[in-house]
Subunit: 228 residues, 2 copies
Amino acid sequence: LIALRDVTRIYGQGSTEVRALAGVSFTIQAGEFVAVMGASGSGKSTCMNVLGALDRPTAGQYRFRDVDVGRCDRDQLALLRRHYLGFVFQSFNLLPRTSALDNVMLPLIYQRVPRRERLRRALEMLDLVGLADRAHHGPAQLSGGQQQRVAVARALVTHPDVVLADEPTGNLDSARSAELLGLLQRLNRERGITVVMVTHEAEAAAFAQRVLWFSDGLVQRDGPPAEV
Amino acid sequence: LIALRDVTRIYGQGSTEVRALAGVSFTIQAGEFVAVMGASGSGKSTCMNVLGALDRPTAGQYRFRDVDVGRCDRDQLALLRRHYLGFVFQSFNLLPRTSALDNVMLPLIYQRVPRRERLRRALEMLDLVGLADRAHHGPAQLSGGQQQRVAVARALVTHPDVVLADEPTGNLDSARSAELLGLLQRLNRERGITVVMVTHEAEAAAFAQRVLWFSDGLVQRDGPPAEV
Ligand SMILES: Nc1ncnc2c1ncn2[C@@H]1O[C@H](COP(=O)(O)OP(=O)(O)OP(=O)(O)O)[C@@H](O)[C@H]1O
Ligand SMILES: Nc1ncnc2c1ncn2[C@@H]1O[C@H](COP(=O)(O)OP(=O)(O)OP(=O)(O)O)[C@@H](O)[C@H]1O
Ligand SMILES: [Mg+2]
Ligand SMILES: [Mg+2]
């Protein structure tokens, strides 16, 4: 499903050059639940942006469903994301001055889902993350953890084949966190949704079957949570 | 030092009314290290905004250094914050398109610290959080955890009497997190800085001597970390 080979991502040049990714190679099969861990600044979000077709590598290859993503033009990338991917951003990226409900419905509008069905599915997803009673609040009227849950609901509402979640529980108490991780695990086991999740918490990584450990732009370790 | 009595904060009105704080009372002595915990949406950030004189209660009283904060005008509040408080926001609130160094120097400009001294202290603080080599990066060129550490550096650079930190380690790996919590603990023990820190992680709360547990806008429990 996912295959990275020697992926490099360099920012800046010369003396201010930053090697955010320094030659990353791994594959992920459909149906896996993979945790991505590693020190702050080690390249995890940069790797997630490459996986999500939001950023192009400086060098190396990314194949998604056996398509060379680097050869796609902007429209093809947009279609690929819309059709297969759900992305939870580390800083949420909700539309400001837009209700939680409208934020969650947005991916369904892109998929041309009829209005009544959009409303039903968005409300159902908000209810799943415990925010049915906050549907009409905008981001400025939501707590940090509530904004994070809206971002998760938006990523899941299209039932994507692949969920890319960058620190989805960083602002949640342990009860809400366990709830959300349990939901991701159910989607993975019952519907075969592939999950790639950045986390810094060992208890969250325990919900995955495999951990990719990043260090200075490289995958340093790759194995079951207990080992890594 | 800090005394809240029956503090209430209500958003909206009528059927859309939200009681973010529903009558909170507690005191904090100078030199304490207090963790604030509780479910997502339970009122922690709202309470921190009241403590930081960034928001006025709907009802109740907040006394800081025996001054009735509710009776202060906007200028007096600004002086109070500038002189005594350092605030780490849950969503960082860094100035965009502004380098890490300039972001950290900003509170020192308000305190009329001379330029050479500002530079020295800001670089020292960035070094303490492991970001000496990112001094000239703006927020868009920093990872999530790096932005969080810049926010912490900015809150500490004035050596405030009181540090209010809203989820300061939410985006940090366990090594960086322990480092930062150890720094807060040292400032608390060696310099008597009062620390009030929202966290959802028990390992972080263990650095404090006391936990205030919030639930539905009320302080439900108040005691040592092991008990709460
Ligand atoms: N401007 C607003 N208008 C209406 N409701 C609001 C507003 N701001 C916050 N709220 C509500 O007030 C409640 C408390 O919010 P607060 O940010 O204090 O929670 P919190 O404990 O910090 O949560 P988290 O752990 O998720 O950060 C939440 O239920 C939130 O929806
Ligand atoms: N636009 C940019 N220009 C320069 N350097 C950048 C830019 N974006 C990111 N970086 C650098 O690339 C490195 C990797 O960033 P990345 O966001 O992938 O880290 P991360 O592992 O997600 O960290 P965190 O756990 O703190 O979120 C960091 O050291 C960061 O400073
Ligand atoms: Mg990141
Ligand atoms: Mg909060």
